[in-house]
């Protein structure tokens, strides 16, 4: 039973990672932009949720509003800053997004201070399913898992079955060719970027009741997302899914078996995959 709980936690964490890393990998794949600030958008989502719950008293209202705000911020950032980066070297993308992290982190500190804040779980979901006499599983975590699954399914459907998905896949495999076939790439870029930011914010917002909100919460998860993207292969949603679950499992089980070394387990997995397939498990050489 204990391991069932850990397994459920691992899947929930892995799916949350998927929400983040799918946006990251799409932004890489389509625009060729490395975005270090992706973890900061996760943090922004969580703090927006915290703030909106305080204002409205309801997570049901807070999450959609936070996601909408993040989408708007994403559109704004794309037009104002990121659109100038597409032709530039990765180095400048790294640096600029590093600057953005500093800005977002400091704005967070000015607006909310440096304390840890909790976000209440909504009444409706604030109970646990008893598994044995002493162990039980909180329903909210199941809810998060469900939300992630629904979104992953919707993404799969959009990318593989719709016209927009076709454009995304075309842009992913060859930007110039897609543009010359008449796809409005700047518009597609803006939407994909904003969508990625919104997904990161959604992940932060629904995770906030579980993880609470705290300074620097975007950093650790960003590194894990990088590991996911490296393992899964850039631009590959399927690869991101497999890798997210694997990392979720490695991280959660690592914490159970040897807490001090759990972080290392994740990187060992990455090192092995690098030796085996440097281009990621889902990409062909």
């Amino acid at each position: 039973m204990f391991y069932l709980i850990q397994l459920l936690n691992a899947v929930q964490y892995g799916l949350l990672l998927f929400l983040l890393s799918s946006g990251l990998t799409l932004i890489f794949g389509i625009m060729g932009v490395i975005n270090l600030a992706h973890g900061s958008f996760y943090m922004v989502g969580a703090y927006l949720a915290f703030w909106l719950v305080k204002l409205s008293g309801s997570l049901w209202l807070a999450v959609p509003i936070a996601v909408l705000i993040a989408f708007g911020v994403g559109l704004l950032l794309e037009t104002a800053i990121f659109s100038r980066l597409y032709k530039r070297d990765h180095l400048y993308q790294v640096l600029l997004t590093f600057g953005l992290i500093l800005i977002l982190e400091e704005l967070r500190s000015i607006a909310f201070g440096d304390d840890v804040h909790g976000v209440a779980v909504p009444e409706l979901l604030n109970f646990s399913i008893p598994l044995t006499e002493t162990l039980s599983y909180p329903v909210y975590r199941l809810f998060v898992t469900g939300v992630c699954l629904v979104i992953a399914g919707a993404m799969y459907w959009v990318i593989h079955k719709t016209r927009i998905g076709m454009m995304i896949r075309a842009g992913n495999s060859n930007r110039e060719m897609a543009a010359s076939l008449g796809i409005n790439m700047p518009l597609l870029f803006a939407w994909v970027f904003a969508f990625g930011v919104a997904l990161a914010a959604l992940a932060g917002a629904i995770a906030s009741p579980i993880s609470s909100v705290f300074p620097g919460m975007g950093h650790h998860i960003l590194i894990l997302c990088f590991v996911v993207v490296v393992i899964g292969g850039i631009g590959s949603i399927n690869g991101a899914m497999i890798a997210s679950l694997a990392i979720g499992l490695a991280d959660t089980l690592g914490k159970v078996i040897a807490a001090e070394y759990s972080a290392i387990a994740v990187y060992l997995v990455m090192a092995l995959i690098l030796l085996w397939r440097p281009q990621g498990i889902a990409n062909k050489a």
Binding site: D89, L95, V230, A263
Partner: protein
């Protein structure tokens, strides 16, 4: 690709100014000066990778921090450690880590390389942060600075800020001269070739992987030297010195100074530390100084968008010298 160094006269003047600086300086500025010199060594080591080999490492602080930790762990509690022993141990540790990590990461390129170097650096961070090996997140104090002995003499006393400043300056000059020689030697030309067109170098018959790995290890060892000196100066190490913030800062320095130029890396280190001092000084900015990261972040964004060649590039242009910025195929097209 033309020569990378400043004219000799400019270099000699710069060295003389740095050597004479203590005459007019207070202890506070001496310590700040030594810090800048150390960061300049660190920036030079990264420039070997980023500016000269075309490998954008976002985990360079790992080797800096590892060497610092090596000194901290090898120092006896109340006695001075031997500088030669601990320094070589620290640089070997950094080089060894760079060899192992480099063996894995150098086979990747572009965005992968950036992410993987960052991830491995965070692994080292996690090791020092999560386990008791290096005192956990609290770090370790180095109560007594290492002792420099030479044939029975003690030419420099590291406890004295003035003498420490000169030690840092000597190290910087040695590293600068060494890199200048190396980059003008066939080794450096090969690295430049790899940066500009890796495929072509490979087809000519250069062992590209080995060259990159050697550059990676060399950069790691030199970063180790900087980390060692830094630990000497502050007498304290904690996991933050090998975190990604530090890696980002040193990358910022070489962009600020203009990458691919050795003097650019040094200039960048000066510029960055000065900027940080000004932006975080209450005397200059009042209550707003507390939020210096905000202004620093905005400045970084502005530099990337407005000054793609860095300060060094502006100086070059001002001197009507040819711009050395390597043109990546994208911008030529």
């Amino acid at each position: 690709m033309p020569a990378i160094s400043l004219p000799r006269t400019a270099l000699i003047i710069a060295v003389m100014l740095l050597a004479l600086f203590p005459l007019v300086s207070t202890t506070f500025y001496l310590q700040l000066g030594a810090k800048i010199l150390i960061m300049a060594i660190f920036a030079l080591s990264l420039d070997l990778l980023v500016g000269h080999t075309g490998l954008v490492s976002l985990g360079h602080a790992a080797y800096f921090g590892l060497a610092a930790y090596t000194l901290a762990l090898l120092s006896p509690k109340y006695q001075a450690a031997n500088l030669w022993l601990t320094l070589s141990a620290a640089m070997i540790a950094a080089a060894l880590a760079a060899l192992i990590i480099g063996y894995l990461v150098v086979r990747t390129a572009g965005v992968y390389f950036i992410m993987v170097t960052l991830a491995f650096a965070q692994m080292l961070y996690a090791i020092f942060h999560d386990t008791d090996l290096g005192g956990g997140s609290d770090g370790i104090y180095i109560l007594v600075r290492p002792e420099l002995t030479l044939a029975g003499f003690k030419p420099l006393n590291l406890e004295d800020p003035l003498e420490f400043y000169y030690l840092a300056l000597i190290c910087l000059i040695i590293v600068y001269a060494f890199l200048d020689r190396a980059l003008h030697a066939p080794f450096g030309r090969a690295l430049a070739g790899i940066r500009i067109n890796e495929q072509r170098m490979r087809s000519i018959g250069y062992p590209v992987f080995t060259y990159k790995l050697v550059a990676f290890v060399l950069a790691g060892a030199l970063a180790g030297l900087a980390g060692y000196l830094s630990a000497c100066q502050f007498g304290f190490v904690n996991p933050d010195i090998l975190g990604w913030h530090q890696s980002g800062v040193v990358l910022m320095m070489i962009i600020l100074g203009g990458m691919g130029r050795l003097h650019g890396a040094v200039l960048g280190a000066f510029a960055y530390v000065f900027l940080q001092e000004i932006l975080s000084s209450p005397a200059a900015l009042g209550a707003y100084a507390k939020h210096w990261q905000l202004s620093m972040g905005a400045l970084i964004v502005a530099v990337v968008l407005l000054l793609p060649h860095g300060i060094g590039g502006c100086i070059d242009i001002a001197l009507r010298r040819q711009s050395y910025r390597h043109r990546d195929p994208e911008s030529v097209r």
